[in-house]
């Protein structure tokens, strides 16, 4: 699956409360995720350039971690830098 620009999209669904293998792509469609465990924070931290599509509650939570989040594909602005690498490191507590 890809967006209109041809960027691959990985779709996550259901309950992700326990560590498991996750599909990877530059864009993650997590709009069908019902529960997200804290373990996913580490997964996202290792992939700082990933973009996540999510519902409102999950967007709020992931945005607080420095993850680029959008409600749908049309909102994605490829190439723009929402959070710099140093700002992301500060948010993650890695600075």
């Amino acid at each position: 699956m890809t967006d209109r620009a041809g960027h691959p999209i990985a779709v996550w669904t259901g309950d992700l409360l326990w560590p498991r293998d996750l599909a990877e792509a530059p864009i993650i469609d997590a709009r069908a995720v019902t529960s997200l465990g804290v373990w996913v924070h580490g997964w996202l931290r290792q992939r700082p350039d990933v973009i996540v599509l999510a519902g409102e509650a999950l967007r709020g939570r992931l945005a607080g971690l420095g993850v680029r989040c959008y409600a749908d594909l049309d909102e994605i602005q490829h190439g723009s830098v929402g959070v710099s690498a140093s700002e992301r490191a500060l948010l993650w507590g890695d600075a």
């Binding site: 309950d15 409360l17 326990w18 019902t34 529960s35 465990g37 804290v38 373990w39 924070h41």
Partner: protein
């Protein structure tokens, strides 16, 4: 009564299983603690007969994990071992070789305790939670369900989570239980589940301000109330 026998010597294990599977007692066996935990996950024993020293650990430690009445046996028992076992609630302690008739008498006493004992209050101070002594599943007096989840590694933690899916009150409950089970590599989680509410006690010291700070935030976001203590954490959830 569901009886789990843990004994690494094949001949003894077989003989005990054959002799004790009478009068309504259902028996399962295991030759090691690893096997015993696998059997217990499905069988949910109400009582335990175990060797004290097993190839992969202590029968006394396993009995503590199970939280059911237990009898221990040992060919190498010292007085201190027997005292430690009895302090942990052991119904009886035998030095091998042990006669079948003595085991049967001990199991009769154990069965009597099983049928007459009810709830045991643990951590009655701040937590006030109840752990069922006689059984680990099922509805008990007071109209609420008690479960004690014990795990020794991540795989067991997830297995415990899968076992109790049916009693978790919605997404908030699932999030809280999953995060608590992942907060410690090995631990014990006591759950009291009633009409519209659930209270949990995670027994153990977690560095909630360090690596687990995000997990703490996740639990607080999902729960109604959380009390953080040095020796554990109390969490209250509702079905709303």
């Amino acid at each position: 009564m569901r009886l789990l026998i843990v004994e690494d010597e094949d001949a003894i294990r077989t003989a005990f299983a054959r002799a004790l599977a009478t009068g309504g007692t259902e028996v399962r066996t295991a030759a090691s603690l690893t096997e015993a935990r696998q059997v217990a996950a499905d069988f949910h024993p109400e009582a335990l007969l175990s060797d004290l020293k097993l190839p992969d650990g202590s029968g006394l430690d396993f009995a503590s994990e199970c939280g059911v009445p237990f009898i221990l046996m040992s060919g190498y028992a010292a007085f201190d071992d027997a005292v430690a076992a009895l302090r942990m609630g052991c119904v009886d302690f035998f030095t091998k070789p042990v006669a079948i008739k003595d085991l049967r008498r001990a199991l009769e006493r154990l069965n009597h305790r099983l049928r007459s004992d009810g709830l045991q209050v643990v951590e009655a101070g701040a937590a006030g939670l109840v752990r069922v002594q006689a059984a680990s599943v099922g509805l008990v007096r007071g109209g609420f369900t008690c479960r004690t989840l014990v795990w020794a590694d991540a795989a067991q933690a997830q297995a415990r989570y899968d076992e109790i899916q049916g009693i978790l009150p919605g997404e908030a409950g699932r999030v809280v239980v999953a995060e608590l089970l992942q907060a410690l590599p090995a631990g014990r989680l006591v759950i009291n589940r009633g009409e519209g509410w659930m209270t949990l006690w995670l027994d153990g010291a977690v560095d909630w301000h360090g690596l687990e700070a995000e997990r703490r935030a996740g639990i607080e976001a999902a729960a109604e109330r959380v009390i953080w203590r040095g020796d554990g954490v109390l969490v209250e959830c509702s079905d709303d």
